[in-house]
Each structure stands twice: as structure tokens, then as C-alpha cells.
Amino acid sequence: MVVLAGGLSHERDVSLRSGRRVAEALRDVGVDVEVRDVDARLLTTLRDEPPLCVLPLLHGETGEDGALREVLELLEVPYVGAPPSACRAAFDKPVAKVLVAGEAVRTPRSVTLPHEAFRELGAAAVMRLMVGSLGLPLIVKPARGGSALGCTAVRQEDALPGAMVTAFAYGATALVEQLVEGTEVAVPVLDTGSGPQALPVVSIEPDGGVYDYTARYTAGSTRFEVPAKLADEVAAECARVATAAHRVLGLRDLSRSDLMVDAEGTVWFLEVNVAPGLTETSTVPLSAHAAGLDLGELMVDLVHAAVARRAAET
């Protein structure tokens, strides 16, 4: 089995952590696993020595945008996770928001614009229009990417230009979204062959109030509760939203939806991850653990499903 980790995206370090964690978990259950980076030798290796299955744990571009999976399809190698077309839709936050909203799911109002639009129309005027329409506070994010890289909460209008520049450092298009205050939750969805099932909801309370890169990857700096202390109907709605996102986007095997629950108990969809983090501080392993699932065994089940799927296709 080959775990793909690393790559050249901004989330390389997170991916390497995920890869190490999953490889350890697989070895703990007796699986022979090799961790490989993505480089010019990868295709030759996969073609000449096809593995039983590939676990793509690449975060960010190439890994989550469907590109690598297209290549795995060409190679006809079994792999765990969503197909390329689903990845393309899910990785693009604005596209995913629109598709998921069609499933009677709330998602914060937002505007998606490339850098060129600001240049051509005049940034000041566009930003004024955005604030006038969406109000404050806002959160500015790169339209594609994860780990909260390039994300900035904007509470004062004069902070918006700087937040835009920060987001555009990570990509050509930015998503400007109403900031929902409340409890941030993560909901993994698992499908080992009997349909997508939501795993326990994880609530996230970062010490500094912001679940940024430091809060995500520094053990001890965030308090997690799993299952989250939510009213039963709110927890059920979180599960429904995450499962709906998984289904409507055509995802497979494992995904994680990031949601907000506001003071009224309304659940808001923010984004979904096709290669969710599996590091020591990630929420998916926490949720799986709370569900009584061993991470290694869970991965083995997903591998079996992927191998069976490929066999059925051929």
C-alpha cells in the first residue's frame, strides 16, 4: 500500500504529518505501507510496481483539486477517496457552497472575486459594495485551500484591504463571507460500503478564539469536545448537513465538513474537505476514536472498499 504525502502545496507540512500518522496506524494493524512524496518518479513507480491501493493524503492543490486522482484513474490504480470531478467541486469553496445550499442547507452569504476584478473595477468601490451588502464582520479566505491558511476575520472595514492581500497571497480568487459567530464544529462522514454515515460531531474551542494554523497544529492550544455538547436536534442537523454535502458533491469514502452553529442553534455549512487532515491534532481521528473506530482498521476498510470498487469497474 502506498500513502501519498507531501507534495508542493502550502499544506505540505500538514500532509506529511497526516501521512506519518496514517502509516503508523496501518503498520499497527499489520499492513505493509510505504509513504511516498509526489515527484517525477512517482508515475514510473506506480506503473511498474502497482500497489494494492493508494491513499492520497495530499492536502491543498494537486492533492485535493482532483489533479492527482485524474492521474491515478489513468493508471487504473485503486485509491481511497473521492473521484476527480467531485474533488474539483468540493475543493472550490464557492462552488461547494452553492451545491450544498441546494440541499436545504444554510451557508453564509458570500462574494467570490478574482484579483483581476478588483483591479478592473476599482478595489475601493468593490470593497465598499461588499461591506454594504454583506455587512460586518466578514471572513476573507482563499477560494481554494485549507488549514485556515490565508484566512482573516474582518471586524472593521479598514482591515478589509489587508485581509484581501493576505488571501490573494495564497491564490488568485478570494471568498469573502459573512462571519458566523458561534461554535465551530467538524463532522466527518465515512462510507465503507453501506452508505455515508456521519461520525460524532467534534466541537472546537481554540484558546485564542481563532482556529488558525497555530491553533490547529499546536497540541494543547485548542479544546475539543466529542461528541459536541449540542442539543440532540442540532447534532442531528450537523450530521444531516455533512452527509448531504458528502452526497451532493459525489464524495466517497471519507470527508469532513466544517460547520458553524450559531447562538440560535442554526447550522451553517462552511466547507468540505476531500482529504481531511489525519494528523495528531486533527478532528477526524478524534471523531473516529469517539465512535470506537481504530484509525488503522478504518483505513483498511476504506482500502478494501477502494480495491473492490476498482475491481468492479474493470
Binding site: S9, D13, A124, D212, A219, L286, G292, D294
Partner: protein, 440 residues
Amino acid sequence: MSRRARGGATRLDSYVDRYAARTLGMTASEIRALFSVASRPEVVSLAGGMPNITGLPLDVVGGAISDLVEHDGPAAMQYGSGQGDPGLREQICDVMRLEGIEGHPDDVVVTVGSQQAVDLVTRIFCDPGDVVIAEAPSYVGALGVFRAFQCDVVHVEMDGDGLVPAALAEAIRAVRADGKQIKFIYTIPNYHNPAGVSLASVRREEVLDIAREADVLILEDNPYGLLGFDDGPHRALRADEPDGVIYLGSFSKTFAPGFRVGWALAPHAVREKLVLAQEAATLCPPSFSQLAVRSYLSTHDWQGQVKAFREMYRERRDAMVEALEDMMPRGARWNIPNGGFYVWLTLPDGLDAKTMLPRAVTSRVAYVPGTAFFADGSGAQSMRLSYCYPTPDRIREGVRRLVAVIEEEMELRETFGTMPGARRERLASRGYESPNTDLR
């Protein structure tokens, strides 16, 4: 799959309430994560400060190590003196003599790289809240040590001639007026990391006079002193002030960093404390590495090797400076280092090297944002560019990519009104203006 549900609240670190206060800053960082990409061969890394040791005669080193194992193996693999091997300490005194220092082997403490020497000196002198005066900018590794010991770092202005004496005097006065205790002045007088400048000869006397007058110890960190391109080794501060200066040296740049051998030369009483601190930390510096370095120094023309290193680094410095002069937009400023590994580049007004780094990584070029070199996180307009490791062709390619990134960033900043001035003029006019004299 078996299921046994286990939930609840967790912070994923059961020791989180037990760490010392000094660990507060030890957190994951976005910038550090981006450097993970810089290690890939597709990226031209102008970030790291790794010495380029491809020119080392590995056959000679291998032979020396082989002889060491054959003839002195048991000693090389045994514990040694906490102060370090006596023979090596004598050789260290010979090395320091090249910079005018008449030290005694008894006053030398061998350390695990000079980085450990910074740690030991800070450990024996500094309580939380004590002040360390350091250049602005200063070596990131030293700032990490000072932070770990909860020191307050007060930065002092530099210019093209190094530390500004008047600013140093004023900083000492201001700190004392504030009722705080200054434990030492940390300085890299030669081919500074990251600023690339050297302390002018006339200023050396002034700095020593100021420190002497104020009764403040100087910690002189000199890893690059023998790597000057045109000027010979500068006279060390320690050469003229045996009692008020602790001198730190290293074989990491003149031989190889993997051996992790550095040293401190300290006044006798301080040396005693350093030895005890060294023994508490490691029992002794690694015997094998020390004896390997000793063997290399005694059997090889090590000064000839350092000369070869200098020529290689000079070629790389030239490649970087020429590329900067050819391609950088007007408004960017940089110094021309006369030795060492680094160019300090200040971006046109309104740009932020830290914010720009993800764009640079996307364009497959990496640098270290200036914020890393200031205890208070300032310095965002500047960056450190290393020329020590990439080949001249890769350096030129790296600068080409960096310039494209800067131009994109300028355009973006101007779109959002966060950059003063007119872009067209800057883009139309490229080229070197003057040495960077605003190292703040």
C-alpha cells in the same frame, strides 16, 4: 471493525497545564510550515543558511576518521572532559589567533556548535525579565534562546558599518532608566547574520569603550569571521578586551556543521560556570566529533580549504548581487556583503515579506522574512537572502522568480491601496541604487 466508543473533552496534550511558562512561544507556525516546501528540489531556496560543503575533501575526512577509529577509537567513543578535549582546545586557540586573540586553552569550553554556547551563556547569566541587547536585526537562533530564557531583547540600530555606537549608548541608558538589568550585548561583528554587514574597525573601539564604561558584558558571536572575501580577518572584539567579552566560535562554516563543534572563550570565572552548565546539559561535548575535528585540523590544509570556501561563496555572492542589480525594481534596497552567507534586502515601501511568502512558495522560491530576526516581530518589509548553498545559476533563477513575485505583490497592493507611490515608475526603472544603510 470493532467498536468501543470513547469520547469526551480533550486538548490532545495531557501535559498542557504543566509546561513551563518559557514554552509559551513554542507553537506551530504558518511560516515554518511553508519552509517545508522549500526543501523540495523544485524550489530555489534562498532561505536556508546551510554551509555548502560539497567542496570538502571527503576522502581526507574519511581517512582521518578511519585513522581515528583505528588508533584512538576507545577514547573517541568514550565520555570526555566537560570542558572539551585539551588538544582541540589548543588548536582552537591557534584558530582564534588569526583574529588577534591570545586565548589560553584553559579558558576555552567546547560546545555543541556555537548555538549551544549561546544557550549556556544565557543560562548562566539571565533570569526572566533580564535584558539582552542585540543588533536590529539579529540572529534568529540566538533570539530563540533568549526567548526560551524569557529575556527581554532590546534591539539596537545597525547601518552599513554595523552596530551604531551612539544608538548602543542610548539603548543602555534607556534600559537602565527603566530600572532593568542588562546582562550582555549580543553581537555578530563579522559578515552579520542576517544583515551581511561588518562592524567597522573604528566602531569596534567605540563599542568596546561604551561597554567598558557601562560595565556591560559583550557576547561576540563569530561564526563567519574567516569567510571574508576581500578584507582579511577582522580583529576580534575579544582581542582587545579579554575580561569584558565572551567570544564564540564554530567549525560549522569553516569545516562542517554535522560535527556540531563550536566553542566559547570566556574569562576564567565565567568559564568555570560554563563548564558546570555544560556538564549539567550534556556531561561533555561529543568526543568523537571533537577528535575528528582535531584530526582534520592537524592532518589537512584546513586554511586552504577555507580559502576555497571563500572563493566559492564569493562567486555566489557575485551572482546574487548581479542578479539583484539587473532585475530588482526601484525601491528595493540591499547591501553588498563582503563575506559570509547573506544579503539583507528591504522591499519597496508598502510591501510585506511575510505576507508575500506564500506567493513566493507558489512561484518556487523561498526566503526568510525579516520578522524572524526581530524579537518583536517587526522587520516585515525586509528579507534575508542566502547565497551560500544554491549554484550561481540557481541563484539567478531564484532572483528572477522573486522579482516576479515582488512585481505581482506590488500590483496587488496598489490595487488595494496598501502601497504608496507610483508603480509604473518603479517597474520601469530597475537597478541598484545604493548600499542599504537603513538596517533597522
